[in-house]
């Protein structure tokens, strides 16, 4: 390393000093995610009828390597069905602390009901709050539990801290993320 090289290197660093930082100031600015980023699960519905796609088969729970999913099936009322099949998920819980976001549940699902979305801001204080139920994951629910709790306390709408380049995947029917 000669003197010229040192001078060249110092010149490079000095040039960087006057460039705009590439940092995304995350909580204020939105982080950019790719559509295939695996985040919080979404339980989707059939677009026409609005029925839940989940038929309570528990295949996702069987496929889950982290044993994070608990499904309890119930019989559908023929006059007022939750899902198009015979049964539906009476209880559908995912423990977000156990979940490793591998996406095997999505692959195992025969009806495409459970799909990994892009939300990732799920930090919370208490263990029980990390067990997400149907009411936290069904399509149309925006934000994680702590986000919705905070938004409700402040009387504002949930603000997601990210945007998805090119919009969410087609599997996430009915889900909208900031672009």
């Amino acid at each position: 390393m000669g003197v010229l090289e040192i001078a060249k290197g110092m010149g490079v660093t000095l040039g960087k000093l006057f460039q705009k930082p590439v940092t995304v100031s995350y909580p204020e600015q939105r982080a950019t995610l790719q559509p295939r980023f695996r985040g919080r699960h979404v339980l989707t519905r059939h677009p026409g009828t609005g029925l839940e796609k989940c038929i309570g088969c528990s295949l996702c729970a069987a496929a889950c390597p982290a044993y994070a999913i608990y499904v309890e099936a119930g019989e559908n009322d023929p006059h007022n069905p939750h899902s198009p099949g015979e049964r539906y998920a009476k209880v559908y819980e995912i423990n977000m602390l156990r979940c490793i976001f591998c996406g095997l549940c999505e692959e195992a699902c025969p009806t495409g009901a459970v799909v990994l979305g892009n939300e990732f801001e799920m930090a919370d204080y208490r263990y029980p709050d990390f067990v997400y139920g149907k009411e936290d994951m069904l399509v149309g629910v925006e934000g994680s539990r702590p986000q919705r709790r905070e938004a409700a306390a402040k009387g504002e709408s949930v603000r997601l801290g990210f945007r998805v380049e090119g919009g969410p995947r087609p599997e996430l029917e009915g889900v909208t993320y900031p672009q």
């Binding site: 390393m1 000669g2 003197v3 040192i6 290197g9 110092m10 490079v12 660093t13 000095l14 960087k16 000093l17 460039q19 705009k20 930082p21 590439v22 940092t23 100031s25």
Partner: protein
């Protein structure tokens, strides 16, 4: 109030002001360094605590003070506690001798804490004492990494003290005094010593980086190789004291470079035409010039990689020390046979003898350029890759250094 008491109180007040200024300077220096390093790396650096992160140093201070101060069982308690205090004390003491303006210019008082005829020697002695803090800290930690780190650091600092001191001999011979005021006035009349001692300045500059443990010579706290060297077992406020000592010695090194080579506290004479007497204002010019060097310290840290320890030692002993000696001989020869300036006794006036000073400046510059130009080719003389057991030798050579 008797005169001596008044003088003592004023000196006490001045030293308090200097200490407070240095400690505040250190606190904000850490902020400036982090922001600048961030910007060098296309990041923002700290920007959360207060407007422009101006409260960040305060937050850091609170954190350092209230952090658990871990006491090592095997440590020699007294020395372990004293070592950082020694470090920071001598760093502070060293700065007091730097003059920040002409006599009686600061509300009728002298803008320095002490002014000794042996000023430069005292300053060198005080900065050298910093090695005790490091070595004792490493030894007293009662653990192996700090011990190794302390040994390496003291070896490094002692080695570079030689070339640092030697490079200043030329300055001393030219000026004929070790008093900082004399050196500043000499430069005010004859031009900055940088012009006549370019070679010496570069040697001093490089040595100052090694002496203050800054990148690329920050081996004493080499995180990757030695955990953190002598700092390994230190935490909380003791650790902060070491940091303080490091930054203050950086200030001192900058102030030394300014005072010895860049005209000291004197401002540019040109500005006197706009605001009369502006070049004589105390403190401000010293700080402006120091800020440049402090920025340079940070810039170099952001740009140049840490060098290997054996390279560091070879550079110090086999290149800088001989060059400093050569510079000493050059100046001595020049002053004895060619020319120089002669001080009028009792006055800050000088008259030329022989060829004056400019040929020396030219010689020094030529030597410096020759050194820089031959840098790559002459490396084999001082930085040979020793053949180590067959294949490794070729690896060592291919690795280059």
């Amino acid at each position: 109030m008797p005169d001596w008491l008044a003088a003592a109180l004023i000196t006490l007040l001045k030293s308090t002001v200097v200490i407070v200024a240095l400690l505040t300077g250190f606190a904000y220096m850490t902020l400036v360094e982090r922001v600048l390093l961030g910007r060098f790396q296309l990041r923002y650096g700290p920007n959360r605590v207060g407007p422009f992160a101006l409260l960040q140093p305060l937050a850091d201070a609170i954190k350092s003070i209230f952090k658990e101060d871990i006491n090592v069982t095997l440590a020699d308690k007294l020395v372990y506690t004293m070592a950082p205090i020694i470090s920071v004390t001598f760093a502070l003491v060293a700065f007091g001798g730097i003059p920040a303006g002409p006599a009686h210019s600061l509300f009728g008082e002298n803008p320095w804490v002490y002014n000794l005829d042996a000023g430069l020697l005292v300053l060198l002695a005080m900065t050298s004492m910093g090695v005790y803090g490091i070595f004792l800290g490493g030894w007293a930690s009662g653990s192996k990494y700090p011990m190794l780190g302390g040994l390496r650091s003291s070896a490094q600092m002692i080695s570079y003290e030689l070339s640092m001191g030697m490079s200043l001999l030329g300055v001393l011979m030219l000026v004929g005094s070790t008093n900082f005021q004399d050196i500043v006035y000499w430069q005010a009349h004859n031009g900055w010593l940088l012009l006549f001692q370019g070679l010496a300045f570069v040697i001093f500059f490089i040595s100052a980086f090694a002496e203050t443990n800054r990148a690329p010579f920050d081996l004493p706290e080499a995180e990757q190789e030695l955990v953190a060297g002598f700092l390994t077992e230190y935490s909380a406020i003791k650790w902060a004291l070491y940091q303080m000592a490091e930054y203050i010695s950086m200030f001192t090194a900058s102030a030394m470079m300014v005072t010895l080579f860049f005209g000291g506290w004197k401002g540019p004479q040109l500005l006197n035409a706009i605001i009369p007497g502006v070049s004589e204002w105390p403190i401000i010019w010293l700080i402006v010039k120091m800020a440049f060097f402090v920025f340079l310290f940070i810039w170099v840290k952001a740009s140049i990689l840490r060098i290997r320890y054996d390279q560091l030692m070879r550079l110090g002993w086999k290149l800088l020390l001989p060059l400093a000696l050569f510079n000493t001989m050059l100046v001595a020869f020049y002053l004895a046979f060619v020319g120089g300036v002669q001080k009028v006794p009792g006055l800050y006036e000088y008259h030329k003898t022989g060829w004056g000073l400019w040929p020396l400046g030219l010689l020094s510059l030529l030597c410096l350029l020759a050194w820089l130009a031959l840098g790559d080719r002459s490396r084999g003389l001082f930085n040979k890759a020793h053949p180590v057991r067959g294949e490794q030798a070729s690896v060592a050579r291919a690795g280059g250094d």
